[in-house]
């Protein structure tokens, strides 16, 4: 489990840490291309609602 962190530091024990799968998806070009489309559509909706 190389992605797991050492939670000994008190400040770090109360939050969430990404697992291996979540980290892999961040740089998976195919998945990110899909997310790129989704985020752009959402941002365009926000822009249109803002004008």
């Amino acid at each position: 489990m190389s992605h797991e962190k050492n939670f000994q530091k008190e400040q770090f024990t109360l939050t969430m840490i990404p697992g291996g799968f979540a980290k892999k998806m961040r740089t998976c070009v195919l998945f990110q291309a899909f997310r790129f489309a989704v985020i752009n559509i959402k941002m365009l909706v926000v822009v249109s609602k803002s004008h």
Partner: protein
């Protein structure tokens, strides 16, 4: 022929000026008064601050763009407003002082029919002893990324730190806010991730301790009282999101902190619980607090009426509800809709220049009575949208003085923030966040105050690509290249 004068040529002022000229054509005059000769896409200063971009990639000269558009450009700073004219004339005017090489210091009166105040902020370094040099400029103990020149300097200093780390000398980097009343945490947030990314890429991360210091009462406040976003079927607080980002990068944080004094290698601070401390550093980027630029206003008889036009923080009063009331009674309706000055209907303020009615974050004070809370962000997307709405109002009023001003409330407006690190298409990383609306509206969205379908955050390459596209798109738009009006603010 009507004359529209715009004070300021940043995101908001430039948007207002270019749309005003497009809508008014050559029948009316548009004048921009700004002390800077260059336009700067400020969000990309972060990349200049770590050496991923040059200054030339984030700025361009305004004069040729305005010449092409038919906008009169005066490189000068606005000094005073005379909305009723003077003893000799009823025509309103402003006084300006040239900042152009060769004529610097020369003053001039510029009359107007409509005035748009888009001066942006004064970077109030001197509010914190040692953060400024005592003469209104940045001091020598810390760096900043607020201007392109500051960012160039920050990059030079940062790489000295990297060189020392490479030579085996352990280094400490401190990034965050330099005062208890700062805004723009997002810029510091993005900068610290870029530093961490570059230190890792340079192979010196294990020799550098990086720490976050902020006036936010909780991580992820961002001056907006935090936000909630949908993640994995839950509505998650930005606190969890921000803490996770910092934890993953081994960056500890100090929050609820008012930096009270800066010395060489030391930042003195006071926390919300009243305790004080000192954070040592080898390199620090601390954002200064913002204030209005300090324009004076004078009545027809020459008497000072600055406090009638401007709020105590020197931002211009507009159609907001400035009645003092407790946090529990704050409403979305307190926020301005038209940005028209209540006393002078031909005067507007947009972008950072308008006085917000109150904070968005919950007001906090240390037990010693020191206010420690972020002030409301009014940069980027809201700045552009407000600038365009104000220009629209002015153009309509020129054509029909009884026209109703256009509206653009920050309680009905979204904003996007993308904190991106690295430059490669597949090697970068980003945290992308969108919030709608910027000012929470608990009457329309009783749960979190915001529409959780359009308030979201995620981490990955997609946000990184978006950030790069936005950089090129907005510079293209600001240069008024073909189709510029099709690109939204």
């Amino acid at each position: 022929m009507a004359r529209v004068v715009i004070m300021g040529g940043g995101v908001s002022g430039h948007t207002a000026a270019t749309f005003a000229k497009k809508w008014l054509g050559n029948d009316h005059e548009v004048i921009v008064v700004t002390p800077n000769s260059n336009w700067n896409w400020i969000p990309s200063n972060i990349w200049v601050g770590v050496g991923q971009m040059t200054k030339e990639e984030v700025v361009f000269p305004l004069a040729p763009v305005y010449e092409k558009a038919g906008i009169d450009f005066k490189q000068a700073k606005a000094v005073s407003i005379h909305p009723d004219g003077n003893a000799d004339s009823d025509t309103p005017y402003i006084t300006i002082e040239s900042t152009k090489e060769g004529s610097a210091g020369e003053t001039e009166e510029v009359t107007y029919d409509y005035l748009i105040n888009a001066t942006g902020p004064k970077l109030n370094f001197d509010a914190t002893p040692g953060l400024g040099n005592g003469e209104g400029q940045m001091g020598s103990h810390t760096v900043s990324v607020c201007t392109a020149d500051h960012a160039v300097h920050a990059n030079e200093e940062l790489h000295k730190i990297f060189d020392k780390a490479k030579a085996g000398e352990r280094q400490k980097i401190l990034v965050g806010t330099g005062h208890g009343m700062c805004t723009c945490q997002g810029a510091a947030f993005e900068y610290i991730f870029n530093i961490e990314h570059e230190a890792t890429a340079a192979g010196v991360r294990d020799m550098i301790d990086i720490k976050w210091i902020s006036n936010e009462s909780f991580m992820g406040d961002f001056g907006m009282g935090g936000l909630h976003m949908k993640v994995g079927g839950y509505v998650v607080s930005s606190k969890l999101f921000a803490e996770s980002l910092f934890s993953e990068r081994n960056v500890p944080w100090l929050i609820g902190a008012h930096v009270s004094k800066v010395e060489e290698g030391k930042a003195h601070y006071e926390l919300l619980d009243g305790t004080t401390g000192v954070e040592e550093f080898d390199f620090a980027m601390l954002i200064p607090p913002f204030a209005g630029v300090g324009i004076k206003a004078y009545a027809k008889d020459g008497s000072d009426m600055t406090d009638k036009i401007f709020a105590p923080n020197a931002f211009m009063k507009v159609d907001a509800d400035y009645t003092a009331k407790p946090y529990e009674e704050w409403k979305a309706a307190d926020w301005p809709r038209t940005y028209q000055n209540p006393d002078y209907k031909n005067m507007f303020a947009c972008g950072i220049a308008f006085a917000p009615p109150h904070l968005i974050s919950k007001p906090m004070k240390s037990v010693n009575g020191t206010p420690i809370n972020p002030t409301p962000p009014r940069t980027g997307m809201p700045s552009g949208i407000i600038g365009k709405a104000v220009a629209h109002s002015v153009c309509d009023m020129i054509k029909d003085p009884s026209a109703k001003p256009h509206e653009a409330s920050m309680a009905e407006m979204g904003a996007a923030c993308v904190a991106s690190a690295g430059k490669g298409l597949t090697t970068g990383t980003a945290a992308a966040m969108t919030v709608y609306p910027v000012v929470p509206d608990f009457e329309t969205y009783p749960g979190t105050g915001r529409d959780t379908d359009y308030t979201f955050g995620e981490i990955g390459l997609a946000g990184h690509w978006i950030k790069h596209i936005l950089h090129h798109l907005f510079i293209y738009k600001a240069k008024l290249k073909p189709g510029w009006t099709l690109i939204p603010e």
